[in-house]
Symmetry: C2
Subunit: 747 residues, 2 copies
């Protein structure tokens, strides 16, 4: 193997200590209690008397009894303003649902107080720059409540949601789709809807923050310092993925993660106690969480505020704030599952507006002072971003090396020339399993991609994904570590990886398990693709070739299911150079996830004709003995460990005078994206004798072998047995491929 | 809709009360503490002095110090015998692994005491008849430990595992594959290996028992009365599915379920505290379980015995027995993750044999008295089965109606003629979504299939799977209910359904959610197919046609992934009669699972040419205007809601004088299984102009449309919007299909 010289690619070429990269020796600053609480404790004093007077008029009309006393303390005043703003939030929710004749108002109405409070008083973000790095992250795991988030984004001043967008809820092409999509609406951090996923995403955000803070913060300056908030519903709380992710969050002591549990006692099918009678708070305690319960059914946010302050003071545990709420608040359906989704009848709508003394205000009315009210927080956000930039300047002057690396990460983590670090193999190199080649690629990449971080669901040794020069990510012991130990939790691993990828800190997450267990994380992989999260899924033991572990562990149908996921790049490399090629494309594609499917067993050879460049085109000619003016008589198409079988058969056939082409179809999607001219050059329409060889379901191969070709695959479950016995049983031998080819040639 | 007369099909034609089937009014007998404990409390007194003497010799050689006293109480004697038997179990494990050069000895050695104790003293089963209905069920969720189970099955006298089978561990075609498979080895209840699944399966077994007991037991006779045991490892405990299932087990008060947690503090990648530091016991308490911790590291089973007695006394909660064990016990690798899998070096093997004073015994040696020792339990099993048959006879004479129904269930739950209960639709019937047709089918079937039971993961109202004449399964309130409320726990739902299907009590489980969330339960669906569990998966909202909920909820790639699972039958019916046809096949196929994919939106029509008989063949001609001697000029192939589009286009084209055939390809697998003659009749090779129309990934369609055909599908993510807008955006309109067809015809 021709190992590349690495030093020219390193960020700190003079540091020298490959074995001890600088982020290993960075001293971890103490994590101070969060400064955000100061703004919570001291409400802004309102100076503008006209503004105040407008509010007092509004409030006195809405709440005659509350206003009876006439004079308010600053705090009382703020509370009343908040309360009225929340009324407005609820009215916008009602108007949007009624206009759309679709949507999920139940959770949105129930959590309106909490969400408004967060957007008005808590979140440290900048609506003018939704992707400011050091913003607080917010994930709505109960994604069906997105209308609430759209309303808050609108009021908070995010340009992505205008009042017209609220009026186009769930309409084709709108920026307010039925579930929140980060690729559609700025201010949405991650696409949610499938329940429980958001909890894992939030854990990923918090992990990314803790990791980057440990690597870059200095005792005198913290450039990575933000919190992660997540709202989960009862559904999220029931899903296994949230338990997996929550267990890890506590294990990793992600104290800056706050999970807000919308405990509204209802799901679609009825009251939660139909199926959910466990003690959720105690479960989270058992997982290692700080837990607090508050009652928000009566719109008093003071206990919620105190809970947040408590969370801010935590230096070890993540915090669960269990908020008792009333689903569908205001509606006659409130407190019942009927409020979960669907529109309101006319009478209900009317009564809701009466309840908040909305008078004859038009639909989508916004109290004029409300925008200004929200600007307080938006202005604070701009201020915070400015402060952060000053800090960054200071950091840059004092810690230029680290600053360079940090900025590299912020711009995506790609150092020009990084791909040259990938090893190259020649035909004389000792053969290995493709998981072995992958190990070398990963370890080389880790040195030149400062953002590469990841791990396995308890199969690091089998998947061969350990980064040998780096420590484990274990907080607070070694949060700078880049090997993540997920335990046996595939689903959370993938959901967390999505969070890491979308955090915006330039981290490039990889997640590894056996290909067959892609099943456990299928929905998260789908969401990687949908939300443009460039997670690299490393899936070893990629066929019946894994042998003894038997059919439960032998993937058959998985590759085709993954290949069908839009945007996802699925690679099944055949040898060292193809494995390197797969990584080259996967790393470069930060906006799309990849699956790299790797063999457990050794492949037969490092082939002469394979190449990373070929992998980039998805399919290419590996070998061909046809003379210039002749087409081959037959094409053998293979992927992964079966490409060598094709080469072996080709050799036999060529010895018998046949013109044989071998094609690697390592990534269908990339090949499909090539122009017709290229595709027909690789698979000329005139050559109808084609054989595909891949040890998995045959579905989809007809596209490439044509009507007269033969598809060699596995359409039944595998079997426990030694690898060669299993391969033989299912026809994956050189002899069988040769026999089939000869048969075709004789026709 | 021509509703069928149902009464002739009912088991109790004279009972009359369709709205209140008899099992609704069956009085629930009190669930007495389990009688098995008596055998645990009073060890068998050994009468045969020669037999005893042989043991004493064996014991004195093995444990000189233990034997020093000379005389033992019956209890002490039994303990020493057990201990020596466990030594033998461990030696068989070592021998098997060494012979196979593969396998997972770690858990097998660590849990040898516990497993042996269960097989020797606890399980009430009959090795001579492994499928005796009223046996205790045992699930090894930590399936990689199967070697331990094989050894125990062998010693317990199950014919399925002979000593030769132990010698062929993990070899191709052996009855001792790398993970336990219920279809390969009698005595294995369910195929496990993917972690956590077994816990859900065990919950399914316990649910089936509680349900059947409630329906059939009488105050004077209990014909359904067995327990479910499950061993889970650390990996199982980490997986989300086990938390989901455990939450339900406690909610349902499945007191006869005992989960034994092999707490060995190690997983593949190292000590569990790398990633798993939660308080598992407290978590189970929070879920509502009775929890007990025992230490089994020193082979003293008395505390384990007491824990079991405690579990037997529970009348409400399922019990978790957390057993501290030592992974790889005896090996020099014991207590470390290195013992998890892999063989032993020569020195280690030698030392292990010395530790148990095995002398020069040959590999696979079994102490002669051991088989006889185990026969005590086997004999008790035969006795128990006999007793049960006497009970059944008594039951039959006293409760003939119920006995008839019970026996019907034991023989698979299929009453001849049940399929006639399926509704039939004519073209003049009002149109509905296929989920609506499905609702009618299910509700009709429930009346004639006493075993039909199931539910949804909190989408019963959306999936339309509520059985209106039946109560919820809620224990102890209404355990006879046939609607199961799974909460938002798709993965556990599928795993539990597998348990229900494989329980052997004739139950026919269905499990419902949105098609897109098949992702959450993919591995369990796979295991349904692998373990021949005839679960019916009802998956609605089957395409972008679901509209407003957007791409997170719109399946695109799912169908092809499911179609690729071996054995699984995937149906996408187009209208009422096809939906009925799908159920007819799905119900009849008790040895294979089915997916019935159904639309959220109304389909355009009940078509003239669709039929249940057609569905049975997977693909068939729906309409064709070609004259006898002519082939059609073009074939339009559709599934589900898009079949109507094909019909619509066909009408347009026919008006223009074209010969057009419409084919429904409702189930690929069934069509693929037809003979060539039939397939070519439906899709004549001579007709190369073909268009397939299916609102999902195009992968796989080339097989049916040929190289010149056009595949209309969706290879990107969907979009939130009104159904018709979304369909239009992606080209699913009559106009577009007609345009494409004309284009083809003009070539």
């Amino acid at each position: 193997m021709a190992a590349m010289a690495m030093s020219s690619l390193l960020l700190h070429p003079n540091s020298g200590h490959h074995k001890r990269p600088i982020y290993k020796i960075t001293k971890l600053p103490s994590r101070k209690p969060f400064s955000c609480k100061s703004s919570l404790l001291n409400p802004t004093k309102i100076q503008d008397q006209n503004y105040k007077l407008s509010w007092i008029n509004e409030i006195q009309e809405a709440y005659p009894s509350a206003a009876a006393g006439g004079e308010y303390s600053d705090e009382e005043f703020q509370e009343l303003v908040d309360r009225r703003c929340v009324d407005n939030v609820r009215m916008l929710i009602v108007d949007s649902v009624q206009r759309a004749k679709a949507g999920h108002p139940g959770m949105a109405l129930g959590m309106a107080d909490v969400a408004y409070f967060l957007y008005r008083h808590v979140f440290r973000h900048n609506p003018m720059n939704p992707t400011w790095f050091n913003r607080d992250r917010f994930v709505l795991s109960a994604g069906h409540g997105c209308l609430l988030q759209y309303v808050c984004l609108h009021l908070a001043g995010f340009h992505s949601v205008k009042i017209e967008d609220l009026q186009r809820l769930c309409q084709l092409g709108s920026r307010t789709p039925g579930h929140p999509e980060n690729t559609v609406t700025a201010g949405i951090e991650v696409t949610t809807g499938p329940l429980g996923q958001g909890v894992a995403n939030a854990v990923g955000f918090a992990l990314a923050e803790a990791h980057l803070a440990a690597r870059f913060n200095k005792p005198d300056v913290a450039i990575v310092d933000h919190r992660t908030y997540c709202i989960m519903g009862d559904g999220c709380a029931m899903e296994g993925i949230s338990n997996e992710a929550a267990s890890l969050a506590a294990h990793w002591k992600l104290n800056k993660l706050t999970l807000i549990y919308d405990d509204n006692k209802n799901t679609i099918d009825g009251p939660t106690d139909l199926a959910f009678t466990e003690d959720v708070t105690l479960r989270f305690k058992a997982l290692g969480w700080n837990t607090i319960t508050v009652d928000a059914t009566h719109s008093n946010m003071s206990s919620f505020k105190n809970a947040l302050l408590d969370a801010f003071n935590e230096t070890q545990r993540p915090t669960l704030i269990r908020v008792k709420t009333c689903i569908g608040k205001l509606s006659k359906k409130e407190g019942t599952s009927k409020a979960h989704h669907g529109i309101f009848d006319e009478e209900d709508e009317k009564q809701m507006k009466e309840k908040v003394k909305w008078g004859t205000r038009q639909p989508f009315y916004v109290i004029p002072m409300l925008h200004r009210e929200m600007q307080v927080q938006a202005g604070r956000g701009e201020e915070l971003e400015k402060e952060w930039h000053s800090k960054l300047n200071y950091y840059q002057s004092k810690y230029p090396q680290e600053a360079a690396e940090f900025k590299c990460l912020l711009y995506g983590g790609m150092i020009p020339g990084w791909e040259n670090s990938l090893p190259k193999w020649s035909t004389s190199d000792a053969v290995d399993a493709t998981r072995g080649y992958s190990e070398k690629c990963l370890n080389n990449l880790a040195k030149v991609l400062p953002g590469l971080i990841g791990g396995s669901a308890d199969l690091a040794s089998s998947n061969k994904v350990h980064l040998h020069d780096y420590q484990d990510f274990q907080n607070p012991v070694s949060p700078w570590g880049r090997n993540i130990r997920y335990g046996v939790r595939e689903h959370a691993m993938a959901g967390i990886s999505n969070g890491i990828a979308l955090h915006g800190g330039g981290l490039i997450p990889f997640a590894a398990t056996f290909l067959t267990f892609s099943d456990y994380m299928k929905n998260s992989i789908r969401l990687s693709a949908l939300s443009h999260a460039g997670v690299i899924y490393i899936m070893t033991h990629d066929s019946i070739g894994l042998g003894e572990d038997g059919p439960t562990h032998q993937p058959v149908e998985h590759l085709v299911g993954l290949r069908a996921i839009p945007r996802l790049l699925v690679f099944r490399p055949a040898d060292g150079n193809e494995t390197a090629g797969a990584y080259r494309v996967a790393v470069a594609n930060r906006g799309a996830p990849s699956v790299v499917a790797l063999s457990r067993q050794k492949v037969a050879a490092n082939l002469e004709g394979t190449s990373a460049d070929g992998v980039e085109r998805g399919g290419y000619i590996v070998s061909d003995n046809s003379l210039d003016d002749h087409l081959p008589e037959i094409i053998l198409i293979g992927t992964g460990s079966e490409l060598c079988l094709c080469e072996g058969s080709a050799r036999v056939l060529r010895r018998e005078g046949r013109r044989v082409r071998v094609v690697s179809l390592v990534c269908w999607r990339l090949f499909d994206r090539q122009g017709v001219e290229y595709k027909e050059r690789v698979l000329p329409p005139g050559v109808t004798r084609r054989v595909s060889v891949e040890a998995r379901s045959t579905i989809g191969w007809r596209e490439y072998v044509g009507p007269e070709g033969v598809v060699v695959g596995v359409d039944e479950f595998g079997a426990s047995g030694a690898y060669l016995d299993t391969f033989k049983k299912f026809g994956f031998t050189e002899e069988n491929v040769t026999r089939i080819a000869k048969n075709l040639l004789s026709k």
